[in-house]
């Protein structure tokens, strides 16, 4: 599975990196660091990534099945 965060929707709520702290990280301004990138979801982070996508108030997170 891959994950991306749409930069035009993300406003830095921080819910995603709060829910998947071992995977997603924040930058100096509090935005998740993978905005507008498509990255592989590591093993063991699938459930947390799904929960992050469901929790994002902006619907900015998209999960892409392999």
């Amino acid at each position: 599975m891959k994950i991306t965060v749409h930069g035009d929707r993300c406003t830095g709520h921080g819910r995603c990196y709060g829910l998947a702290p071992g995977f997603l990280a924040y930058d100096d301004e509090g935005f998740v660091t993978i905005r507008d990138q498509i990255v592989d979801v590591p093993a063991g982070q699938t459930a947390a990534s799904r929960e992050a996508a469901r929790t994002c108030p902006e619907q900015a997170i998209e999960l892409l099945d392999d």
């Binding site: 709520h13 301004e29 108030p57 902006e58």
Partner: protein
Amino acid sequence: MANKAGDPVEGVERPARVPNGCPVVHLDVSPTLEVGSYWHKADELRETGQIFFNTMAQGYWMFTRYDEVREIYQHPELFSSESITPWDPEPAYRFVPTQIDPPEHSKYRQLLSRWFAPAAVNEASPAARAICQRLVAQVAPRGGCDFVAEFAMRFPTEVFLTVIGLPASDADLFVPWVEDFFRGFGGDVAQQEAMGQALAAMRQYWVDALETRRGEPVRREGDLASHLLHATLDGEPLDEAVILDILTVLVLAGLDTTRGELGYLFRHLATHPDDRHRLVAEPELIPSAVEETLRLYTIIFGDGRKVARDVEFHGCPLRKGDMVYGLVAGANRDPRVYDRADEFVLGRTANNHLGFAAGPHRCLGAHLARRVMQIAVEEWLKVIPDFRVATDAPLVERGGGSMMTLLALPLAWEATS
């Protein structure tokens, strides 16, 4: 409250362009009421209809459900923040960046976001925890306190002042100013003078603070006022009036909000021993309790926006200059989005609440507010794991036109010595 949704309103005419399917109400959101009244009103409105026209002031549209409220937040090109109070389309104050629309808005946010980003919150956390421990230690031996006055007003205020580089003792000045301001902000005409005086006093505080910092060749480390004096926007120094507008709204937004949520969170813990015991046993659930407080017990009844151009929105013929009100309390408790929407569920998943708004004006202080609430629960429960509401009299809350907040919360517990 004024009347039930859908009741015909005596003496109030349906404005000609309000569609027949859109109920007209005359709802004053400023009165102080028994705790919970505004959430229940939001629930009632949402389940009666999607859209209402409220004939208060010049009249405004109210959107009651999650999807529409989020849509309003996410479309600043249609819904301007020029006014955020639907009963007052031309406010006397100007909050920066709260009332600035994109694309200018993001430039101001960039000046401020690092101050309230997770890294800054992590850095401030040891100091915040020490403040919390001191305040809990002060009240614990007494076996009771007014949680609002003695803890909820003090703790976030002292933390916030520390974060922006001011003496925590200035909380003594700011707490009454912020109280007076929000008495009038929600539309209570009798409180407009007090609100104006508080605003003037706060402004003078900042004028004096800027005066002592102006001309200093090096910016003071960790001092927001000094930082703004040295900041540039589009290559130019900030106008001093803009700096004043920024500092004023940061104080208002930073001091009152977390205080309000802390009151509701601790009322819940005082009245729900099972949840309290579970948080003592499983402190890893505390962040979930914070999110659920922000959802179920939101302090935001609604958020206003000004319509930027004529547009048809969910069947409503909105005109440029109309005011709309997104009922955040309706959205956060919307059963179309949440299972057991009216229950406090520890460990709730997919809690995508709008308690910090959405879109570009997402609460700047959200990361700090969450941390302050988490620390409050952690430190309080370590010292005072069991407590109850110490009165049978109904608790009352400030009206929903400002942010809702408990005016007092008397708690009692077994005194520690």
